[in-house]
């Protein structure tokens, strides 16, 4: 009987819903739950692909009465391991967020003042095209900067920048994973995945995998560790969730991870515990390595890392004994220190000498799956060279991605040439880059700024024109192959029609292209694009399959050892795995990882370190009402010993000052951090009033972080800032 009563209540709540529902979404995000609920009769389930972070998990949207009711995990994608995290679940609230940009807007007050005029799309396009044309005439197309972050529709934006003739496309990697990609790429000619599902011994440093969720690594590793299939050794100045779950945690001295790895190499080689057959067959430069690491004894490393030599020796032995199923995990976001590239290189080399390459439980080169390509009219290469001078400053870095911080320095100096227009897609340089003061200065120097985004980010807040993009649940995107040990092809299809006057990025790009005389390069629809991609999927009825399932993963089985034939040619200069890299040497870098001490903070300062929690990754997620309630405000972690010395009390506000800025933030006095470090979470202290939950609440790390980068990859080095902490 009870269930019938339950249903009756559902029914009562539904009555009279239809009229209220449409209006309710305009007012606020919760109303529709009260009034807009429909009977289950018209419920639909539509598979799609999550966009809240770069993992691209497969999800199934439950739509009732035209509203997204819930997102469920889609078990068909082996990479996403039949789960949807807090962020993925909260994507519902991304759509129904009252803070969304609801129509195009042109700034009417001063930049950052927050005075906007809602305009038609035509007006926004015309205005932007006119401004871009003016800049082009005065400074050439290279006088414009096009910056974007990762996503399925990013390519359209990048293409517009290129078709416009600008060489200055800058993407997210040098704020994220450029150093790890370059280090592994230099060594193996490719960036492998890590088979956490089958590994027996995992060492992790410079990554917090149980809070920074990466699929399938996070899920595979927690299973392996807790089912006692794998041992996890974890190095981190902070007692993170990963530390709490690890078998061994070492609060390593920040920036000394390279010393730890070099000492492991020393032990494994000295004790001849490396995989001799593998090293002989597949690698280049082992003898030089053996000679090179003799200086890096465990006793020496103990002084650098504060990890006891006996533990380094034991861990090295255990690691080598686990052999092909031992992993020194690479991490993903690798923007920590100025030596980051060499630290990741050392990891790659350590993995190499135990022979875990292309083995079950080891590093596995990514498998891929075929899909079709949509062919469009190509444009001429830009005439000017890049403003960040990647080729001369970072000869090995990926020039097409740019080097963000060097780029900002050059733009601010006006050399080698001026940049006066800035187009931004879905990125918030105000919070993603260190030293917000410099970014603000760069904004001031611009004649024009246009931003495409879902929400009024701090960057959008300082723009001249804002184009509202449709949320991922409101649009269809290009098909994407997700390479990996368990590769999948994923498809994101429209789940509901846009609830505001927004457009998918492609249509925004096309609107601009039309007015810039570039329409010929963008004369297609998303449906034509997607259809071409479906065509080469080697499955019958590919389009129908993808629309019904949202994902195709072939057999979903892992394949190991395809590259383990002596005649396999690695995509490196020598065709071998390059322990010693001539290419590095030729470009003036250390061909083997050389240890240089990272500066440590003076007694009256702390090193500021960063990290993530499972429910926030990007700066915009703290304003999602379903995530925000877990952490309404960020705080500063500080160890009780220095806190007592400074008279800092838990929960009270402190000032945190670096050489470039200062912020006011609540102190969290906690044992869970080294006494020489402080930590804060990203995504708070917003300047945009349209991030209403976090506007002026807590502090933004970007305000106090200083500018520094890894020498080889140009990747931002976020852990080099020393701060003073005092009572506010």
């Amino acid at each position: 009987m009870g269930t019938i009563r339950m249903d009756r209540r559902l029914f009562l709540k539904t009555a009279g819903a239809t009229a209220g529902a449409v209006a309710a979404t305009q007012v606020g995000c919760f109303k529709y739950f009260k009034k807009g609920r429909s009977t289950a009769a018209d419920a639909k389930e539509i598979p799609t692909t999550c966009e809240l972070c770069p993992n691209k998990c497969s999800a199934i949207a439950v739509v009732e009465g035209g509203f997204i009711r819930k997102l469920n995990p889609n078990p068909e994608n082996p990479k996403s391991r039949d789960m949807l995290c807090a962020r993925g679940n909260a994507a519902v609230m991304q759509v129904y967020d009252p803070d969304r940009i609801k129509q195009p807007m042109i700034r009417v007050g001063a930049r950052g003042e927050g005075k906007w005029k809602p305009v038609s799309w035509d007006e926004a396009f015309d205005y932007t095209a006119k401004k871009l044309a003016e800049i082009k005439q005065k400074y050439g197309p290279e006088g414009t900067l096009w910056s974007s972050t990762e996503g399925f529709q990013e390519k359209f934006f990048v293409n517009l920048g290129q078709a416009f003739g600008s060489p200055n496309i800058v993407r997210h990697p040098t704020l994220c994973l450029a150093s790890v990609n370059l280090a592994y790429g230099t060594t193996f000619g490719t960036v492998p995945s890590f088979d956490m599902l089958n590994s027996k011994y995992v060492i992790m440093s410079g990554a917090n995998r149980f809070e920074s969720i990466i699929t399938p690594d996070t899920m595979d590793l927690i299973g392996s560790v807790m089912e006692r299939k794998a041992k996890l050794v974890y190095l981190d100045p902070r007692f993170t969730v990963t530390a709490a779950k690890a078998d061994e945690w070492y609060p390593i001295k920040p920036g000394s991870d390279l010393a730890f790895i070099l000492a492991m190499l020393n032990v494994i080689i000295a004790e001849k515990r490396y995989h001799k057959d593998f090293v002989d067959t597949y690698t280049l430069g082992f003898d030089q390595l053996a000679e090179h690491v003799k200086q890096y004894t465990p006793e020496w490393a103990e002084k650098e890392t504060e990890i006891p030599a006996k533990d380094i020796i034991r861990i090295a032995r255990e690691f080598a004994d686990a052999g092909t199923r031992a992993l020194y995990y690479s991490g993903r976001r690798s923007s920590w220190y100025e030596n980051d590239f060499q630290m990741r290189r050392a990891q790659a080399i350590l993995n190499t000498i135990v022979g875990n390459w292309d083995q079950m439980g080891g590093m596995v080169p990514n498998a891929s799956l075929p899909k079709g390509e949509f062919l469009f009219m190509p444009w001429d290469d830009p005439k000017a060279s890049r403003v960040d001078e990647v080729k001369t400053n970072f000869p090995l870095a990926a020039a097409s991605d740019g080097v963000y911080l060097k780029l900002r320095e050059n733009v601010l100096s006006g050399k080698p040439y001026p940049i006066k227009g800035w187009m931004v897609y879905k990125q918030d340089p105000m919070n993603a880059l260190p030293d917000q003061g410099k970014t603000l200065k760069m904004i001031e120097d611009m004649d024009f700024i246009g931003v495409i985004d879902l929400q009024m980010s701090d960057m959008a807040w300082y723009a001249d024109v804002v184009f509202p993009e449709s949320a991922y649940l409101e649009r269809t995107d290009p098909v994407e192959v997700m390479p990996g040990i368990w590769p999948a092809v994923v498809y994101r299809q429209q789940v509901v029609k846009p609830i505001h006057d927004t457009k998918p990025n492609l249509e925004i790009v096309q609107g601009l292209a039309k007015r810039l005389g570039l329409s010929d390069y963008f004369d297609y629809t998303i449906d034509q694009w997607v259809e071409a991609e479906f065509k080469d999927l080697p499955i019958p009825m590919a389009a129908e399959h993808m629309k019904k399932h949202g994902v195709w993963a072939a057999t979903g089985e892992a394949h190991y050892g395809k590259t383990l034939t002596p005649d396999h040619r690695f995509v490196t200069k020598s065709g071998k795995i390059e322990i010693f890299s001539e290419r590095l040497q030729e470009n003036g870098y250390d061909p083997l990882p050389v240890y240089n001490q990272i500066a440590q903070p003076p007694a009256d300062r702390f090193r500021l370190i960063l990290g993530r929690v499972g429910y926030f990754t990007h700066a915009n997620q703290s304003n999602n009402v379903w995530l925000h309630e877990f952490m309404p405000e960020n705080d500063l972690w500080i160890n009780p010993a220095p806190a007592a010395r400074l008279g800092i009390k838990n929960g009270e506000y402190v000032n945190v000052a670096s050489s470039v800025g200062s912020v006011r933030i609540k102190a969290r006095v906690t044992e869970e951090i080294r006494p020489d470090c402080v930590f804060m979470l990203h995504g708070f202290g917003k300047k945009s009033k349209m991030q209403s939950l976090v506007y002026n609440v807590g502090a933004s790390d970007a305000v106090i972080l200083e500018t520094a980068w890894d020498k080889v990859s140009g990747n931002a080095a976020f852990h080099g800032t020393f701060v003073k902490v005092s009572n506010a």
């Binding site: 339950m6 789960m83 807090a86 996070t218 927690i222 709490a244 779950k245 429910y615 009402v625």
Partner: protein, 183 residues
């Protein structure tokens, strides 16, 4: 055909819990839980002094007890229990007196001010009755919770309880809680 007897329960492997909150948000979406309230939560226990530290996370929600004290104290019969063990609130009969909230040993209930009724985890009865698992169970990245029928000898939860050590919380209350935490 006679209906087979069922007894739903959860087995929870807290050690795998990463405190990522996926279960909390999934529940919020599935059950329209208002912002500021939760039907489930993750309890945290942080211990030790640097550098000897530990953190334990423990998911918590209604334990769907065999002898639920919330049902016993309810003056109107709004709190009631299905034959399969699921404890529910009949919102039409709830007068918002909140005795059940005091009686619950697990603080698993909340008062919905807007509706004037008490609310709590239902094991996602709307899903379970369709043969699906509760939203918190399905969405979890590390699959901390296992949902099943204790009357089914072939169920995964029976297997886990037969082969692993476990505890229930607050057994001394005599409530007979049906959330089993693996040790």
């Amino acid at each position: 055909m006679a209906m087979k007897k069922k007894r739903y329960a959860l087995v929870i492997d807290s050690r795998k819990c990463l405190n990522c909150k996926a279960c909390v948000v999934a529940c919020k979406a599935e059950n329209k839980v208002p912002v500021g309230h939760f039907r489930n939560r993750i309890n945290e226990e942080r211990k030790g002094e640097y550098p000897t530290l530990s953190i334990n996370f423990e998911p918590e929600q209604c334990h769907h007890c065999d002898e639920p004290s919330c049902v016993r104290v309810c003056p109107t019969g709004a709190s009631w229990q299905r034959k399969d063990g699921i404890v529910l609130v009949n919102y039409d009969e709830c007068i918002g007196c909140r005795y059940c909230m005091i009686a619950c040993p697990y603080d698993a209930r909340y008062f919905n001010e807007e509706e004037g009724v008490v609310d709590k985890c239902t094991f996602c009865v709307q899903r379970v009755d369709k043969g699906e698992v509760p939203a918190c169970v399905e969405t979890c990245p590390s699959k901390v919770r296992v949902f099943g029928d204790l009357e089914d000898p072939k169920s995964r939860i029976r297997e886990l309880l037969a082969t692993r050590r476990y505890k229930v919380k607050e057994p001394q209350t005599g409530n007979g809680p049906q959330l089993y935490y693996l040790l």
